[in-house]
Amino acid sequence: MLSAGEVILQQLMNGLILGSFYALIALGYSMVYGIIKLLNFAHGDIYMTGAFVGFFVFGILAGTVGSSWGGVILAMLAAMCVCGLLGFLIQLLAYRPLFDAPRLSLLITAIGVSLILYNTVMIITNGEYMFFQHSIPAGGLTFGNVTITWVQLVLLAITAVLMLVLSWFIGTTIWGKAMRAISLDKPTCRLMGINVNKIIGLTFFIGSALAAVAGVMSCVYYGSLHYFMGYMMGIKAFTAAVIGGIGSIPGAMLGGLLLGLLEAAGTQALGSSWKDVFAFSLLIIMLIFKPTGLLGKTEIERM
């Protein structure tokens, strides 16, 4: 039996870990939405692809670099590059021809891309689960009955660093400024000489690379990967992005962490069979009172 304080501390930790996965994926949703108003349904599958790329690269590297943190970091970098390029290519081949089409057509194309990624990986892996075996030492910090493993701490640190870097990138660099400008007014940006297509490509690259980080992290943390892992994660991350205010970068981070904490709280209070009902109900109630999400801006939009 745990004391009430221990339960709360442990569930906070659980929620934060899960929330950082949501946040990393939600960032990709939010960035893409902000810039071309597309709900990129393929994003969850990019997360899944990232996990598999990481898995295979890790398998190759394990012999030379070792199967501890070194190998994981290299696998993560490789997955970031591959998925970033993949995201860029998807945008180039599937989405770009449809930028001026009705937005629902773009949404359906995204579902189509999701089907392609999902089924390709399914065929390659023969529909089987893969198990990620690393030799990162177990153990961690212990407070009474509560244990926080080193892996958890490293994952939180990676998430925090990536978010700080991204905030800096969006906030101060010329590309970040261009991104924000495009999300406000695309035609004017074109007139101002901003290479809009290039910036959109960059957005896809960054969003997909972040999803790949989450993918490799989930390999390390959960140890198993399968071709439909992106499905539920995608839906949840999408929810997180909306909670935070879709299109807003800090909002995606906040929304992700909040959703993770909500789910942990829901599991503790109501049982895991009701936790999703709890999370979605809160989402709907929140949207009724604050339709733009926590940090979203009110804007006039057209379908």
Binding site: Y33, L104, S114, L115, L283, I284
Partner: protein, 356 residues
């Protein structure tokens, strides 16, 4: 733009035969003559429009279609009938979803929840309480209206993408609640539902359901078309084209959206009730998010707003994987590729609403 909207408002207020003027008033990108397969398809669709515009053409096309479909049980195997039934079932859902998505322009990612309401209401009343199936249909409609008001209440005031997530959220909530409750049979769902009787015959064979669904499709098409050409339908179209302008001109956007939502839900729930009876078993797994995405996909693929279009989309969606059944796991991959290609070359859908 302002000028166009004025014309449109008048259209709503004036008589029915202004549809042409109204369409002319809608500002649309001009159609460019394209080459290759895309161009050929454009021409084919255009030709079909011309054909069905004349009464003779209408009778010809629908007559051939009806005879071909109506005589199917004589020459087709039960497998083909099952696939055809499946296609018609998706048509019903797509026609219902089209009211929300196509007529009104709301993005609905939780349509499966709506047909779950009908399927469960009917299945519980028939299986647990021993009702006659046909008597459950009014109850299904009442429950659908209640569910639509609960789901639609928060939805109608939201803009498109928030609307998408709220409908998605409700879709998941309905599925999980169905899975957790005893009365809905929890995760196993409800199985062994007795088949209903029609004219004293128990509907156990697939060819019987085939005819029942043909009649349903005809009823749905007629109802949906009448809805579209009514004052209500034109108001919805106005909302779809420009919500702000509609509101500014005095259209009660929230009320019309809620009604569109209710209509779509009633259509979906009725289709769901018949689905439960044909399958004789339903479970929460039949109402996953993927199902909602599929229905939306059929609507957009076929051409939003156009009833024959969404029917074509639904048929494409149901039949395509069956045609490629023998290649096993590659079929959904090919389906995905086909989807992307169709969308790139025909973003407005296979058979969209005609805009001049």
């Amino acid at each position: 733009m302002e000028h166009n909207e004025n014309i449109k408002l008048q259209n709503i207020e004036v008589t029915a035969n202004t549809a042409a003027a109204e369409e002319a008033a809608v500002e649309e990108p001009t159609v460019i003559q394209r080459k290759g397969i895309a161009g050929a398809w454009d021409n084919f669709v255009e030709g079909m429009y011309r054909l069905v515009e004349t009464t003779k053409g209408k009778i010809l096309v629908f007559g051939i279609l009806l005879i071909a479909v109506g005589t199917m049980p004589l020459w087709a195997s039960s497998y083909v009938l099952q696939v055809a039934w499946n296609a018609m079932f998706y048509m019903l859902l797509a026609i219902g979803c089209n009211i929300i998505v196509g007529y009104c322009g709301m993005c609905d990612l939780g349509y499966a929840a709506k047909f779950a309401v009908g399927a469960y209401t009917s299945a519980i009343l028939v299986k647990t309480f021993g009702w006659n199936f046909w008597l459950t249909l009014p109850v299904v409609i009442i429950f659908a209206i209640i569910a639509a008001c609960i789901m639609g209440g928060p939805v109608v005031r939201l803009r498109s993408d928030y609307l998408a997530i709220v409908t998605l959220g409700f879709g998941e909530i309905v599925r999980i609640v169905a899975r957790n409750l005893e009365i809905t049979g929890s995760a196993s769902g409800i199985s062994g539902i007795p088949r209903p009787y029609l004219f004293g015959v128990q509907l156990t064979k697939i060819w019987m359901w085939f005819f029942v669904f043909i009649i349903l499709v005809i009823i749905f098409v007629i109802a949906s078309n009448r809805l579209k050409n009514s004052r209500f339908g034109r108001a919805l179209e106005y909302i779809r084209e420009d919500e702000d302008a509609a509101e500014a001109m005095g259209v009660d956007v929230a009320r019309y959206k809620l009604w569109a939502f209710i209509m779509g839900t009633v259509f979906g729930a009725l289709a769901g009730a018949f689905y439960a009876m044909q399958m004789a078993a339903i479970s929460p797994n039949s109402f996953q998010f993927l199902q909602s995405a599929n229905i939306l996909l059929a609507v957009v693929l076929g051409g939003m707003g156009k009833v024959p279009g969404v029917m074509a989309g639904a048929a494409f969606f149901a039949i395509f994987p069956e045609v490629f059944r023998d290649i096993g796991e590659y079929r959904m991959l090919i389906f995905g590729i086909a989807l992307v290609i169709v969308m790139i070359f025909r973003p407005q859908g296979l058979w969209p609403e005609r805009r001049r």
